[in-house]
């Protein structure tokens, strides 16, 4: 599987960078495993409960974390406001599905996704100017501030959003008029997974392209990047808008699969969870957000089954221990093991 980026890369360095862009066996395995979960947890095997709704939720969360990874892991912008685009995407998709009354053209989920991506991309472009300068803390707080203002807007614009009650009557029509969302979450999972893969594939191409490499240069040292002729601001604006569009798609997915959109989709905890999950999984690998989302939610589900009220304690303990003993999140942990096993320098 070769997906060589369009490149003007020559020589030894170029070859090495190109090699990095190759799909590895473990990546293929990752996606095959994701598909196989459909058959394991889709209520096809007696005795194994269906968990596809949880998995769909994880996909949406993972996609949100992926969008943060693009700005944080590759461009070095810390954001606590990605929930703003997530929620905006959810409302765009929700309002469209509602206005279409569950009938094909307007209520079609794919159209909803595109609209959410477009609106959030534009919103990302407009707000990107706020994050071009400032320290980590400043960016954190500006993005958070934007999200909080948007959340308050969603609460106030009752005529459009349904206020604090959330949007009611969100019914998506069957995807392309073919596949309807069922109680088991089968359609929802396959649909979410397909959307995730497309977004992931796009992100992967981008980070391995010359554009992505220039982002890494900016993250490493913005001043030096500017000196060698990288248009720093334009690049940051572009990636921020793109990440916003992807976050919007993630929100739209959640709105469509749960048939609801409410202010807590913009709320602070959404952005914070996603950032947490990304750092937990490991930023700067693209897979970190996905793996983090899976582990985080599964832990929550499993621990919650044993201790309904106090699962937060154990989750907190895991976070604390992870930071104390591991560098670079769960992927960092795996990388460490891998290196020790193979004793080579270049690993996942």
């Amino acid at each position: 599987m070769s997906m060589a980026p369009h490149s003007k890369l020559d020589g030894e360095a170029g070859a090495r960078l190109l090699a990095k862009a190759q799909w590895r066996w473990y990546e293929v395995l990752f996606w095959l495993a994701a598909i196989s979960l459909y058959f394991v947890f889709g209520d096809f095997i007696p005795g194994i409960p269906t968990k596809l709704m949880l998995l769909s939720e994880i996909v949406s969360l993972g996609l949100l974390a992926l969008s943060i990874d693009l700005v944080l892991g590759y461009a070095g912008i810390v954001t606590l406001g990605q929930g703003a685009f997530f929620g905006l995407g959810a409302y765009v998709a929700g309002v469209m599905a509602k206005a279409g009354m569950g009938v094909f053209p307007l209520s079609d989920p794919l159209l909803g996704l595109l609209a959410a991506a477009a609106v959030c991309g534009i919103a990302g472009f407009l707000t990107s100017f706020l994050v071009l300068r400032g320290s980590d803390l400043t960016r954190l707080m500006v993005t958070l501030g934007v999200a909080l203002i948007l959340a308050e807007l969603a609460n106030q614009m009752r005529w459009l959003t349904g206020g604090a009650d959330g949007l009611q009557g969100v019914t998506s029509s069957p995807i392309l008029g073919q596949w309807d969302f069922d109680l088991w979450g089968r359609t929802a999972y396959l649909y979410s997974l397909a959307v995730l893969f497309v977004c992931f594939w796009l992100s992967r191409r981008i980070v391995h392209s010359t554009f992505g490499l220039s982002l890494k240069a900016i993250k490493g040292n913005a001043l030096r990047a500017r000196a060698i002729g990288v248009p720093v601001n334009a690049r940051l604006i572009a990636i921020y808008a793109l990440a916003a569009a992807i976050a919007g798609v993630a929100g739209a997915l959640l709105a469509q699969t749960t048939q609801s959109a409410s202010p807590d989709m913009i709320a602070f905890h959404r952005s914070a969870d996603a950032l947490l999950i990304l750092v937990f999984g490991g930023a700067g690998y693209l897979y970190g957000g996905l793996i983090g989302a899976v582990l985080f939610r599964v832990m929550q589900d499993v621990i919650g089954a044993f201790t309904l009220q106090y699962w937060q304690f154990w989750l907190g303990l895991v976070l604390v221990l992870l930071v104390l003993f591991v560098r670079g999140g769960v992927i960092g942990l795996l990388e460490g093991w891998w290196n020790r096993m193979t004793r080579t320098g270049d690993a996942p």
Binding site: L54, G166, V298, Q309
Partner: protein, 387 residues
């Protein structure tokens, strides 16, 4: 890595599969409650109410064993929807229940309809919720049911002008709307309607504004469990000294919080359907068992709703002779009448709405503790918004 995921998922699978497989003999009830987060105290009271009912009535009804499964929705709507789906599909529950907030109940509605499973609304108080699915039954109460009696009482007791202060979310806005409507019908005048953000830590601005308007009374509503902060600041602002009466729905002087509010709330008048002090043999038995089973916690209006919810389910199962078919159960639930610890209760046969008995109460000290002491029985109040 992947092994780890699968292991995790497998563990949860086993945990769920380990539940008794005697599907015919057991009837499962799935409760979706906020056990962590902002609404955690509500979830705790609801769970405690269910426990109390089971302690009094056992786990067997009409030859079936009742099994209750509790899930934590963390107060987030989309999670509650997923949990409802999992409870229906995996655990094959026959009845859903709980729902701490209006948006959470709204999110569960479509699942109940699609799966034809009765869903008992215990907490959410916005009137429209129950119309969202033909499988919704409410055993709690609605905002107009709580606000009409206090509006009437105020109008009858020399209150000519009032200001309302509510939390800025659906039930709060409902409360404001219905108080204003009823109070003005009775000849009163609402000078201003103030709305504080749900997460507001400081009510100073709103309270000062209310005070400056010099009404005869200030009407308050905040979600149950959030009243302590508000009352603290109300007391600090000394409304009594300005001859402004403070009145509220019973949520503000929640039984769960009342004792910690101190003597400054003595004499405050509220309206609600439940007070732990209600004088009846049913309530004495309820409070006694509740305290015994739940570590001396005092029951509040959430606990009683959960208790009555279980009662409705048990009696519906008796009526169907243990048949847990959703359609039959919901039919058996409609129109039920019984003697609840809060007084005579009824479920409206056509709207599936609770018709609770309302009381006007005053905070008094009894046996060293603060209680909402009922001094006027309003009787059953029907929700006026359903056609």
């Amino acid at each position: 890595m992947r092994k780890q995921i699968l292991k995790g998922l497998a563990a949860s699978a086993i945990a769920l599969a380990a539940l008794p497989a005697l599907a015919q003999e057991t009837v499962k009830i799935g409760l979706i409650l906020p056990m962590t987060g902002q609404q955690a105290s509500t979830g705790r009271q609801l769970e405690a109410g269910v426990k109390t009912y089971m302690a009094q009535h056992g786990a067997k009804v009409a030859g079936k064993t009742i099994e209750v499964i509790v899930k934590d929705d963390t107060g987030v709507a989309d999670i509650s929807k997923r949990l409802a789906q999992e409870l229906v599909v995996n655990d094959k529950v026959s009845v859903l229940g709980g729902f701490g907030l209006t948006p959470i109940a709204m999110a569960v509605g479509p699942v109940a309809t699609q799966a034809k499973v009765p869903a008992i609304i215990m907490t959410a108080a916005t009137s429209v919720v129950v119309e969202q699915s033909p499988y919704f039954i409410r055993v709690g109460r609605t905002m107009p049911q709580m606000t009409f009696p206090i509006a009437d009482w105020a109008a009858k007791n020399g209150v000519k002008t009032a200001v309302t202060l509510v939390s800025d979310y659906a039930p709060g806005i409902d409360g404001e709307k219905f108080f204003k409507q009823r109070f003005e019908e009775a000849g009163g005048k609402v000078l201003d309607t103030l709305r504080a953000p749900l997460a507001s830590p400081d009510f100073a601005a709103f309270l000062q504004k209310a005070k400056d308007l010099k009404p005869d009374a200030l009407f308050l509503f905040v979600p149950s469990g959030q009243g302590a902060t508000l009352m603290k600041q109300v007391i600090d602002r000394d409304f009594a000294g300005s001859k402004i009466r403070v009145i509220a729905t019973g949520d503000v002087t929640d039984d769960d919080l009342l004792n910690s509010m101190g003597d400054s709330v003595l004499g405050m008048v509220t309206s609600h359907d439940y007070s732990a002090d209600h004088d009846s043999p049913e309530n004495k038995a309820f409070v006694e068992t509740f305290k015994k089973v739940n570590d001396n916690l005092r029951p509040n209006m959430m606990a009683i709703a959960a208790y009555d919810g279980m009662d409705v389910i048990y009696r519906a199962l008796e009526a169907t002779k243990g048949d847990a078919n959703g359609q039959k159960l919901i039919e058996a639930m409609k129109g039920q009448k019984w003697m609840s610890p809060r007084g005579p209760m009824e479920i409206d046969a056509t709207t599936r709405e609770a018709i609770p008995p309302m009381y006007i109460r005053k905070v008094e000290r009894k046996n060293g503790e603060l209680y909402n002491v009922e001094f006027e029985a309003v009787g059953p109040v029907k929700d006026p918004t359903h056609k």
